[in-house]
């Protein structure tokens, strides 16, 4: 090796290191404690341009990978809602021009795409997501850029953000009604079965607290990884525990395996029924007749008799790419776009701060297929009716229970004395 | 240490019940070109495998005072035992120089391994001279001729400073000229080392062997000089049916 190249080598290495150090030092921005001085936490000015005849919105769901199974429908119904709104004249007279992005079942991709939608495509708001992981990935990004994100799926609550609107149920609108229903059914022994991730774990933590108050004994708790279908071992434990009812927080395809193993083991809806919070009209057909007679807790069912529901079902059935049935997450996604329209029109502007201010000032409502929902301007959730449905042989739900009024959203369960105040305080503090 | 000999005593190798080598004893000394011959399945290569740790054998194989059996392959090599394979196995992607450099390199410290090679080791130059590969220094080994690959292998053994060279069919597939050159090379390097050759080529054996061991069905059939062995009626009996094969040699034939 010649000395020239040796020198060249060390020169390059030193050059590279030197450049890096110099650039890094030059690039130093705000340090902890002087955010205000550097404007660290206030976002760069928004690049959203609504001066033309259109407004750009971002749609973000997993169209590929494992979650595409569920999320594709949400994405399709958003397109339908956009088409409807456009046909009706748009928002503030501006046509919706949507940018569809694929989260690819990869949470960092959700973060990346959110940033892209906000800073490259300059969308006024983003709609979509499904898993809590995707929402948690999006949250810091929309907060950083002061964007808006509309999240359409029931979730574990204990969260709020000035930049997120939640149109799915929080726990007191789905889990707690389900527990009230169980209490009314005289359930004494409850078994908890869930997928091993955040929503079921959190939901079950809340269920256990409430069950203690209601005097329902939790006779067992089992989790299986989200991507595993085989529930035989766990169902054997359920059989041994002899519960009156099973509270099912399993998500996705694993539900099919659970119901099959349940049925195989000789458990029946007549003796040991299941109440689910993730099986809707979309999921039920994939489980065949074995899921007939089981219960689900949702706010919306296709079988609901409300003034606006028939039109919603009809439009969806006529929509290309339609799956033919409507379900709660779809309906919540449908609401989200209309809610945004109502918010913007109340604010008279697409500006995020103006929209948030309008949310606080007015009681924004929308005649949703589940009924007339009202937005809570403080916690950005909506009021919802609680419903329990029983799956019939055509995979539709017969409504067997309904809450007497719309349930106000309470993500931090502040209205429930059995929820320990110290946990709430710590959670709120941590959210910061 | 130059007078250390390779002494194999009652070597046995079994493969799940099948006795490939059943109690073979022989020795090899510096200065001689020792041949191991025998028909198919006689256990010749297996003997080498056992000595080099590739196959598990019982009995004894000593180099000087050191027992070889039971040691790991690379540890046996470090005691000075080197071998070649039936088909030349050199590093095709690397140049002749790189091949030899690796062979010469096992004494190097870990740190020096991380440095780039500068210049050519004297031992490598010497080996290149010896094997006539000096002109091919930067040729990728993959495009060498068959004979050259075999020589490169031998050169690698030389730079690795092997005291014992176990050569498995070194002239298989070689032209007559290459065989002669290889034979001369073996004679030269045997002067200071132990050279043990497994071979089918009887003609080559006759020309270059100093002593011969004939194996048959895992056992020693006969031992001695070329003339002794050829005169042995047992050997003639065994080889009767396969006389043609022995006379012609069967290059590129798989054994066992």
């Amino acid at each position: 090796m010649s000395t020239i190249s040796k020198r060249l080598r060390s020169l390059t290495a030193m050059g590279a290191i030197g450049t890096t150090v110099a650039l890094v030092l030059a690039g130093c921005g705000a340090r902890a404690g002087d955010e205000a001085a550097a404007g660290g936490t206030s976002a760069a000015p928004s690049c959203v341009d609504t001066s033309g005849s259109a407004v750009k919105l971002g749609f973000l769901n997993s169209l590929t990978g494992g979650m595409a199974i569920s999320e594709k429908t949400v994405s399709n119904v958003l397109h339908m809602a956009a088409d409807e709104i456009n046909a009706g004249g748009g928002i503030l007279g501006k046509k919706i021009e949507y940018v569809q992005e694929d989260g690819a079942t990869d949470w960092p991709t959700f973060a990346e795409k959110t940033e892209k939608l906000l800073t490259q495509d300059c969308v006024a708001a983003i709609f979509g997501g499904w898993t809590s992981s995707s929402r948690k990935a999006v949250k810091p990004v929309v907060e950083k850029h002061n964007g808006l994100f509309f999240y359409p799926v029931q979730y574990e609550g204990l969260e709020s953000s000035p930049n997120i609107y939640y149109t799915g149920a929080t726990t007191n609108q789905q889990i707690i009604p389900a527990m009230d229903f169980l209490k009314a059914q005289g359930v004494k022994r409850l078994f908890l079965a869930g997928s091993d991730y955040v929503f079921p774990r959190t939901a079950n933590a809340i269920i256990k607290l409430y069950a203690a108050k209601l005097g329902i004994e939790i006779v067992g708790e089992e989790y299986v990884p989200l991507d595993k279908d085989d529930w035989t071992s766990q169902v054997a434990k359920i059989v041994a525990a002899k519960p009156d009812f099973i509270f099912n927080t399993i998500n996705g395809s694993s539900n099919v395996g659970f119901v099959k193993a349940y049925y195989d083991a000789g458990l029946k809806a007549e003796t040991t029924p299941i109440i689910s919070v993730s099986i809707a009209e979309e999921e039920a057909p994939a489980m065949g007749h074995e899921v007939t007679g089981q219960y689900a807790s949702w706010n919306y069912f296709q079988s609901l008799k409300t003034p606006t529901n028939p039109k919603f079902i009809e439009s969806w059935k006529a929509y290309p790419n339609s799956s033919g049935v409507t379900s709660d997450p779809m309906e919540a996604a449908y609401i989200s776009l209309y809610l945004y329209k109502a918010l913007v029109e109340a604010a008279g502007s697409f500006d995020v701060d103006a929209v948030n201010a309008a949310a606080k000032k007015n009681a924004i409502t929308f005649d949703a297929p589940e009924g007339k929902v009202t937005l809570d301007g403080e916690n950005h959730h909506i009021s919802k009716p609680g419903h329990i449905g029983k799956i019939n042989s055509s995979n539709q739900f017969d409504i067997v229970w309904a809450s007497d009024k719309f349930i106000e959203p309470d993500p931090y369960l502040e209205g429930y004395d059995w929820f320990p105040a110290d946990i709430r305080k710590q959670l709120v503090d941590a959210a910061g | 240490m130059t007078d250390a000999s390779l002494v194999v005593t009652d070597l046995r190798v079994e493969f799940s019940g099948f006795v490939a080598v059943g109690g073979v004893s022989f020795d090899a000394h510096p200065g001689e070109v020792r041949f191991l011959i025998g028909p198919n399945g006689a256990g010749k290569t297996t003997c080498i495998d056992a000595i080099t740790g590739l196959a598990k054998g019982t009995g004894s194989a000593r180099l000087g005072e050191k027992e070889l059996l039971g040691k790991q392959v690379h540890k046996i090599v470090r005691l000075g035992v080197g071998r070649t394979f039936q088909t030349a196995s050199v590093f095709d992607e690397l140049t002749v120089l790189q091949n030899l450099d690796i062979a010469a390199g096992r004494h190097r410290s870990a740190l020096s391994l991380l440095r780039t090679r500068r210049g050519v080791d004297p031992s490598i130059e010497q080996a290149l001279e010896e094997t006539g590969l000096a002109g091919e220094l930067t040729t990728p080994a993959g495009i060498l001729s068959h004979g050259q690959k075999q020589w490169l292998e031998i050169a690698m053994l030389l730079v690795q400073d092997a005291k014992v060279l176990l050569l498995d069919e070194p002239v298989a597939g070689m032209s007559q000229d290459e065989r002669t050159a290889t034979g001369e090379l073996l004679r030269r390097i045997a002067a200071k080392r132990i050279v043990l050759v497994v071979e089918h080529d009887m003609d080559f054996m006759r020309r270059y062997a100093t002593r011969v061991t004939v194996l048959h069905q895992g056992k020693v059939l006969s031992q001695g000089t070329v003339a002794d062995v050829q005169a042995d009626p047992k050997v003639q009996e065994v080889y009767l049916g396969t006389a043609d094969a022995i006379a012609v040699g069967t290059p590129n034939r798989k054994e066992d």
Binding site: K228, T232, S233, A236, S253, V256, A286 | -
Partner: protein
């Protein structure tokens, strides 16, 4: 008693499903050295085939018995197509077949997602599988017994085929010495294709069994591929009896771990168990005298 019997029986059924998934691999991976990461997707194809059969034959009592051979042939044909178009060029590069088939798997998954309802489709269990068998006080689901029977039949058929038919003998000859087999007049091309067809077809049969246990959707194959490979590796390459024992052991271990710990931890522990086992016995349970891979 129940605490010991239930996991044993459940685990045996889980092992039988693993065995079904691994059986095809033990042919394509064990005998041919091809690392087919799309094997899970062939399993998925078998499950979808069962669904399609049920659309034609609506009586599920009959449709599942019909679906088994159909799934075998359909998945087998997909395998054959893969062999002819891609794998046949790669026999000298076993490790690369792994990556190529990862690509094939990705494409098949996405295609299934777009062709079928994204939530998946139902495959109905035949009525004669409803019910349980009381074994030492444990009500053992008949469906599990069916999985074990199906696996046993497949193993018996496969080993008889390998042992007693001339095709089977040729496969074994080709595996043991490809060059020699070729010179003895065996068309190794035909053998390769047939082996791959059979191996993939077995994945299809496993798919029917899997469709009775879990969901039938685009993602279903992914959960079987790694465990199936681990089973084949732990059993010893090209060793049917090793694969059987390994599958059973992994199934039972999974089941006991799930009984004692949680479902997630059971998966982790079972994986670690196999990995440690393979560290101790890199050649698997049974060693065969053949060329080692790569």
């Amino acid at each position: 008693m129940d605490a010991l019997i239930a996991p044993l029986l459940n685990g045996s059924a889980q092992g039988a499903l693993l065995l079904l998934a691994a059986l095809g691999l033990s042919l394509t991976f064990g005998q041919m050295g091809v690392i087919n990461m799309a094997h899970g997707e062939f399993l998925m194809i078998g499950a979808f085939a069962a669904y399609l059969v049920q659309q034609v034959i609506t009586a599920s009592n009959l449709s599942i018995p019909v679906a088994l051979p159909v799934a075998f042939v359909v998945a087998g044909l997909f395998g054959l197509l893969l062999e002819v178009t891609i794998i046949q060029w790669m026999y000298r590069r076993p490790l690369d077949t792994l990556l190529v088939t990862v690509g094939v798997g990705l494409i098949l998954q996405q295609a299934a997602l777009q062709i079928f309802p994204s939530q998946g489709v139902p495959v109905e269990k035949p009525g004669w599988l409803d019910g349980q068998l009381n074994i030492l006080g444990y009500e053992w689901p008949l469906r599990q017994l069916f999985t074990i029977l199906l696996a046993s039949v497949c193993v018996a058929a496969l080993s008889a085929w390998l042992k007693y038919t001339s095709f089977g003998r040729r496969i074994r000859a080709t595996v043991q010495n490809r060059d020699l087999a070729e010179t003895s007049g065996i068309s190794t091309r035909t053998i390769d294709r047939l082996t791959f067809f059979t191996g993939s077809g077995l994945a299809g049969v496993a798919g029917v069994a899997a469709s009775l246990i879990g969901g039938t959707n685009s993602q279903m194959g992914a959960q079987y591929i790694i465990p199936a490979f681990l089973v084949v590796a732990a059993g010893g390459i090209g060793q049917l009896k090793g694969t059987i024992i390994a599958a059973w052991a992994v199934g039972v271990a999974l089941s006991y771990f799930a009984y004692w710990t949680t479902g997630s931890l059971a998966q982790v522990l079972a994986f670690i168990l196999v990995i440690v086992f393979l560290q101790l016995r890199p050649q698997g349970l049974f060693t065969v005298r053949t060329r080692s891979l790569a």
